[in-house]
Amino acid sequence: MLLIACPWCGKRPENEFRYGGEAHIARPLDPASQDDAAWAEFLYLRSNPKGMHAERWRHIHGCGRFFNCVRDTVSDRISATYRPGETPPR
């Protein structure tokens, strides 16, 4: 079970969290202006990398907040967690 550092609460065990999919996929400000292909891409296409992955988690059984996380999908190692709106560490 991973230890995940909630940016507000600190390190907590994984079962306090809920996974939220890939991060930094902003909902288009004007969805109506998106053509079908662009909208389908927003809905369904994800990078699914082997390696570093920026993803969303929610501390659902803690403070309840969403945050972002960089996790290596091969080793499961988390290299950083950060608040929404913050830029991912390089």
Partner: protein, 960 residues
């Protein structure tokens, strides 16, 4: 007398405490401090099991948790029968009842052993090759036969009456293994007050020191550790798995060693230990040698024989032959010789005598190895490569040592191959995990202690230790005859030859094809021999063959320990409403909805379900019914931007919804599919009370929080789950207003003052209440929300007030029928995650003037506007259809036939006096009036497609 093979003195057993036990029904005597294995050996019992496939007689190979042969069933009465336990790990207690496994009718005379003598019945790949055809034979003929013939012990049938607990612990350093290296690590780690957990699978801490002369260092170390407040010592505790971020699972056996366990104690504890640093000091496992007939009872690992002698005071035989490639066997030979065992020969394939060999004074045969054995139920003769056949009752073997790198490897660290030890070793120390002692390839007491201290010390640095003096040689590639590599799964060297001849190269494939290493011992004694043989057969060095994955658990963990308290009624939390007990007392039959228990119907005077539901439906349609709707999800949405926020989440418009009014709300996923529905009630300009489905409450709140926090963070809005805060009593029926009028204060509930889809705050007596005029039945209806603690009191009041009007409590079944008559959907019943509002005829819920809401853009995607989408319709059928049944156009065509849709809800409508059904039907609205067919196994049912609403289509009753 505790056995003819007990030495007169020595060992750590308590000779003043004899213990009676039975094995296969026969009584024996052992001593406190014995394992079942040592007690059996003390009584001269070597034959303890039959092998997995060939039913060959098997004895005790080892003295520890690596044991592949001596698996027994311990019977402590109904529900307390545990199969597949290693006799080498079982602490003897008075009255222990043990049974051998995999034999019929008895160990000494086993019918299955015929497979040992008839043809090579079970070679590698046997299962794949033999049982391919016909397929149906597999389940009904082959599998039952194989399961009866081959296998392990039987799982108990009765429920396990014992308790199991989960513990959660945090520590600075977790030390796994309490041999010299582990003890030293624990000493060093705890010296400065760090919190240390030290666990060991054995009943006593000390590891290899337990088979040495009594040591004052061990005693003093254990005293010191016991006195340190921050140190937790856990004997009988196996570290069975390493999980990310240094979470280690420990299985602690609390009562299995006791004749009369304290009923207050759990049988086992499963520890979740999160450690800043883990020191692995798991030791090493002695390797068997691979030669024909290397599996007979009386053939044992050399150091195991020494341990039985030194620790348990048991002489495991009288005439021994030793086959070894490693110097450690000489120490064993000397010890046994001193105890009076005749050592007839030591076959050592090395051509030059090592110092240890010379110093031992044992009869040495250099350049020789064991090639065959004979003996029926016990080894009686060993044949060596020089042709010599030696009579013996004991054959000790040592093919070197395999460091126990299981936990290290699970920590996803890379192993390196050590040519000198012919074994895989841990890599360098990391901040999280360090290995010390024999599991790290470090042998010799002094080196182990030194490495242990360094590993325990936070600032410790690892030194690299000099190799042992001798150079063990690799195993001869392949022996003839039945030369076992994996004892537990009966895999021979010949099987590995077959696998490589058939083209398997990857060790993972060889493993699966031959099943080597796949038994419950996970190949502790077989893995390195397998690798060495496959390397030889394929002409590659061992490192390029690689090793198979080390998986948890290190040794089997009981389901009880894994489940802990999460079984029976604690398996999942059960949620009950405040009205639950009343419902129980009034004949309710319950169903689970999510984690809630809801009353399905209330049985009166022994009526059946059908009659009860029909009676409840009639009451609602003709007078009044009352319904416990407490389980509905409730979310309070507050803040100056609450209306704007709801406009963005729901399909409908709420900005202009007046306080005191409600609106039906449909929630979509971003992909446009219906996710949930409910009522959105505006209590004040900045305060909404939103309901969700019973099962959807948590996921709706999560969905709402997601958008609130991540997409619309600029909106000033807050979400609070109030599901548990409000009890909800629905009063539905033409007399509903008359029933509640005398109860309600502070609200004008006259029809005009409080129209359909409105909400008011007032009181029921003294109790604050939110009263909704809403209906899920098609009748005039109210839902009275009161603080949950008052739910039962108000239920009683409503019931009393309604009695003169014939009020009838109804359950979810009647609710389903009534809403289906009215064509109201249930999310999850009519919808399945692919349904959009238009499909359900819910276009009217969509605020057309809204620029955007979650899911809106998706509703314009090409697939969402196809004419052949499935749409909600009603069906008129001659009988109550099966929910999930399919709809087809032609009754005469046999399947496969195009499916046009499926039945989503089907009931007997007491109101209409006929069966009704709802269905999702391709282009359904265009098919209204058509006749379709529901194919059943024995017939087709003709159905007519109708509008979904079959009762009061004008909704005049709602507005009464």
């Amino acid at each position: 007398m505790t056995g003819a093979f007990r030495t007169p003195d020595g060992g750590r057993i308590d000779r003043t405490r004899p213990l009676a036990f039975s094995f296969d029904g026969r009584g024996y005597s052992g001593l406190r401090g014995d394992t079942l294995a040592s007690a059996l050996l003390a009584n001269g019992v070597h034959l303890v099991g039959r092998s997995f496939k060939y039913h060959r007689p098997r004895g005790i190979l080892s003295a520890g948790s690596e044991e592949p042969n001596a698996l027994v069933t311990i019977d402590r009465g109904a529900g307390r029968i545990t199969p597949n336990l290693r006799a080498t790990q079982l602490e003897l207690y008075d009255g222990m009842r043990a049974r051998s496994q995999n034999r019929f009718p008895s160990l000494a005379w086993d019918l299955g052993a015929v497979s040992n003598t008839v043809a090579p019945l079970f070679p590698a790949g046997f299962y794949y090759k033999t049982f391919m055809w016909p397929r149906v034979f597999w389940r009904h003929v082959y599998e039952p036969a194989i399961r009866a013939a081959a296998g392990l012990g039987r799982a108990p049938v009765a429920a396990d009456p014992d308790r199991y607990l989960h513990y959660y612990a945090h520590c600075d350093v977790l030390v796994i293994g309490a041999g010299p290296a582990g003890l030293a690590a624990a000493l060093a780690a705890s010296a400065n007050g760090a919190r240390v957990v030290l666990c060991d699978e054995q009943p006593e801490l000390g590891g290899s020191l337990l088979a040495e002369a009594a040591s004052s260092w061990l005693r003093e170390t254990l005293d010191t550790l016991a006195q340190r407040a921050e140190v937790t010592l856990l004997p009988r505790t196996t570290a069975f798995g390493w999980f990310p971020d240094n979470l280690v699972g420990l299985a602690q056996r609390v009562t299995d060693h006791l004749a009369h366990p304290d009923p207050q104690l759990p049988r086992e504890r499963l520890w979740h230990v999160r450690a800043s640093r883990v020191v692995i000091a798991a030791g090493a496992v002695e390797r068997p040698m691979v030669f024909a007939g290397n599996d007979r009872p009386g053939i044992m690992l050399a150091d195991a024989a020494r341990i039985y002698l030194r620790r348990y005071g048991v002489k495991v035989g009288t005439r021994a032959v030793i086959a070894t490639t490693d110097d450690s066997a000489y120490a064993a030979g000397v010890a046994l010789q001193q105890a009076g065992v005749a050592i007839c020969a030591v076959a050592d394939p090395r051509t030059e005598a090592s110092d240890a060999a010379r110093a031992s004074g044992l009869p040495l045969l250099l350049g020789a190895s064991a090639v065959a054995t004979s003996g029926k139920l016990r080894v009686s003769r060993a044949t060596l490569s020089n042709g010599e056949a030696i009579a013996c009752d004991l054959l000790l073997m040592c093919g070197g040592w395999t460091p126990s790198v299981h936990l290290y490897s699970q920590s996803r660290a890379r192993l390196r191959f050590d040519e000198r030890l012919q074994a895989f070793l841990p890599g360098e120390w990391t901040a999280q995990v360090r290995s010390a002692g024999a599991c790290n390839g470090t042998f010799g007491l002094e080196a182990c202690l030194e490495e242990g201290y360094a590993a325990g010390d936070a600032t410790g640095v690892r030194r690299h230790y000099a190799p042992p003096l001798s150079q063990p040689t690799a195993q001869p590639a392949v022996a003839s005859g039945k030369a076992f590599v994996d004892f537990q799964n009966d895999v021979t060297a010949r099987d590995l030859v077959i696998a490589t001849q058939e083209g398997f190269r990857s060790i993972e494939h060889v493993k699966r094809y031959t099943t080597t290493g796949m038994a419950t011992d996970q190949g502790k004694t077989s893995s390195m021999n397998t690798l060495a043989i496959v390397a030889g057969l394929t002409g590659r060095p061992v490192p390029s063959v690689g090793h198979t994955t080390f998986r948890m658990p290190y040794t089997p963990v009981t389901f009880g320990a894994l489940a802990g308290a999460a079984r029976g009624h604690l398996f999942e939390p059960v949620r009950r409403t405040p009205i639950h007990d009343w419902a129980v007392a009034n004949g309710a039959v319950f169903e689970n909805v999510g984690t809630w228990q809801r009353a399905r119907w209330f049985t009166r005077n022994g009526e059946d379900a059908h009659r009860a539901v029909a009676r409840e439906c009639r009451a609602v349609r003709n007078a009044a019914g009352m319904f416990d709707a407490t389980t509905l999800g409730k979310i309070e949405v507050t803040g100056p931007d609450a209306a704007e926020y709801l406009d963005r989440l729901y399909t409908g418009s709420f900005a202009r919804l007046a306080p005191g009014r409600c609106r039906y709300g449909v929630l979509l996923t971003e992909a446009g599919f219906v996710m949930d529905d409910g009522v959105v009630a505006r209590l004040a300009p900045d305060r909404f009370h939103v309901t969700t489905t019973t099962g959807g409450a948590a996921s709706v709140l999560h969905h709402m929080e997601d958008y609130r926090q991540t997409e619309f963070p600029e909106l000033r809005v807050w979400l609070t789950s109030v599901t548990e805060q409000w009890a909800v009593i629905a009063v539905q029926g033409p007399l509903a207003r008359q029933v509640i009028t005398p109860l309600i204060t502070g609200i004008d509930i006259a029809a005009e003052a409080m129209p359909h889809m409105s909400v008011r705050e007032g009181r029921v007596g003294e109790i604050p209440a939110r009263v909704f005029r809403v209906s899920f039945t098609g009748e005039l209806g109210y839902e009275i929300n009161v603080p949950a603690d008052y739910g039962l009191a108000v239920w009683h009041e409503v019931h009393a007030a309604g009695e003169p009007h014939g009020i009838t409590p109804y359950g979810t079944e009647a609710m389903h029928v009534l809403r289906a008559e009215k064509g109201y959907i249930i999310v999850g019943q009519e919808t399945d995650g692919t349904v959009i509002p238009t499909d359900l005829g819910l276009d009217w819920t969509i605020g057309r003037t809204k620029r955007d809401f979650v899911g809106k853009r998706s509703l314009a995607r090409p697939d969402m506007i196809r004419a052949d989408r499935r749409q909600l319709v009603g069906l008129v059928a001659p009988e109550v259809l099966e929910e999930g049944a399919q709809l087809v156009a032609d009754a005469t065509v046999l399947p496969p036939i195009a499916m046009l849709g499926h039945v989503t809800s089907a009931y007997w409508s007491e109101t209409l006096r006929r069966p009704i059904a709802l269905a999702m039907l391709s282009a359904g609205r265009a098919r209204i009036g058509q006749t379709l067919y529901v194919p059943m196994p024995d017939r087709s049912i003709a159905v007519r497609v109708t509008e979904p609403v079959t009762y009061d289509p004008e909704s005049s009753r709602l507005h009464a």
